[in-house]
Symmetry: D2
Subunit: 128 residues, 4 copies
Amino acid sequence: MQKRDRLHIWTEQGNVTISQLFFSHYKAINVKDEEAILLLHLIAFGEAGNRFPTPQNLVERTHFNENKVVNILQRLVQKGLVQIEQHIDSNGVRFEYYAFQNLWNLLLNCVEEEENSVEEEHSKTEEG
Amino acid sequence: MQKRDRLHIWTEQGNVTISQLFFSHYKAINVKDEEAILLLHLIAFGEAGNRFPTPQNLVERTHFNENKVVNILQRLVQKGLVQIEQHIDSNGVRFEYYAFQNLWNLLLNCVEEEENSVEEEHSKTEEG
Amino acid sequence: MQKRDRLHIWTEQGNVTISQLFFSHYKAINVKDEEAILLLHLIAFGEAGNRFPTPQNLVERTHFNENKVVNILQRLVQKGLVQIEQHIDSNGVRFEYYAFQNLWNLLLNCVEEEENSVEEEHSKTEEG
Amino acid sequence: MQKRDRLHIWTEQGNVTISQLFFSHYKAINVKDEEAILLLHLIAFGEAGNRFPTPQNLVERTHFNENKVVNILQRLVQKGLVQIEQHIDSNGVRFEYYAFQNLWNLLLNCVEEEENSVEEEHSKTEEG
């Protein structure tokens, strides 16, 4: 195997793309920092093709032990920030994956509320 | 102000793009989870045009208090994961920004070492 | 000025992030290939902070001459794929920018129609 | 099947992430606009998991006919902008894929040359 140059290694890793909305508003929807980092790992795994990483996968990438990972995952599901959904592929095999639709909706609700309250402020000032 | 639809709000937020390398290897270069989330916030601010967010900016987006943020930032600088660099713009104004070049290099070193050790394994097996 | 390594140059360039939807469906909404490449340039300029590149900016990055660029831009606006919007910044300065909201909506309409027709197929088969 | 909202459809599409370097410098390395759009399609397919799209795949997404697509692909390979590489997976199955390493290197060479000539200008001015 020929040694590859560093740029080659870099560009082959692939990227994770996350809305700025996540970073600017996760606190506002009551996501803790340790939940945020785990969510980001779930998203990163998903973008790399593994949409249902195991607790062990997450233990390998973080400093959390398995109990802690399972505990955070349960909280994420209970809070409705992550859904475990099922899909049946073309061979009839059932598989599960983490879905983040509700998370995106909660973040957007937050921005909408901010925009509405800014608008109300404006209205008050104009009416004043 | 007309109310904008949700897709409009979503697409206007912009994105943060981060190498998969960060998520797969930050633990291996001894970055703690709380350092990881702060690094991600620094990168997110940078991509949105604010390359030198204040501790207060970071307090607003996380559950850390200002002492904690300053403490983590200092550790990141001491460990060489973040550099504070200076630039003089075209108007002669000096400004500072966070640079992550060393972080990317450390992550890449990690992958190179892994590839080398895999290669050595192969060599041993073949020679064996 | 110290010579920077290649990885440093690479990571400093920044990225352009575009929905897969654009590549998979621009043809279906009747966007020509030369319009597609110009749209991508507009988006790339926008993500780098220049939300209203001039025809000359676009001439420098493509093999089109200025007439051709102006001609394609006009078509994009006429087809409603790009809007020229105005904004007044905090100093009262008016500026213009290209907006792509309508483009995203047209692409989404396309996917929705596809999903609906798939659903109708299913209904027919089940009823059949 | 329940009808999904538009944001859901949007976020499920996934993204394509491309270095700004591509847009700013493809012309400088003598890539034509029609070659650029085809390269972008190859990259988009690759990021969606199809690293060796057929000419027919590309015909479906562009206004080029199959002859034209094959013709552009051949030029991209001849110019060394795209490599067709082979890989053998863990089941011993050989598969091919398009690689862009040379393209990234050519774009970087371009930036390096620009930086060098700027530096020489500075040196001359200072010496002058």
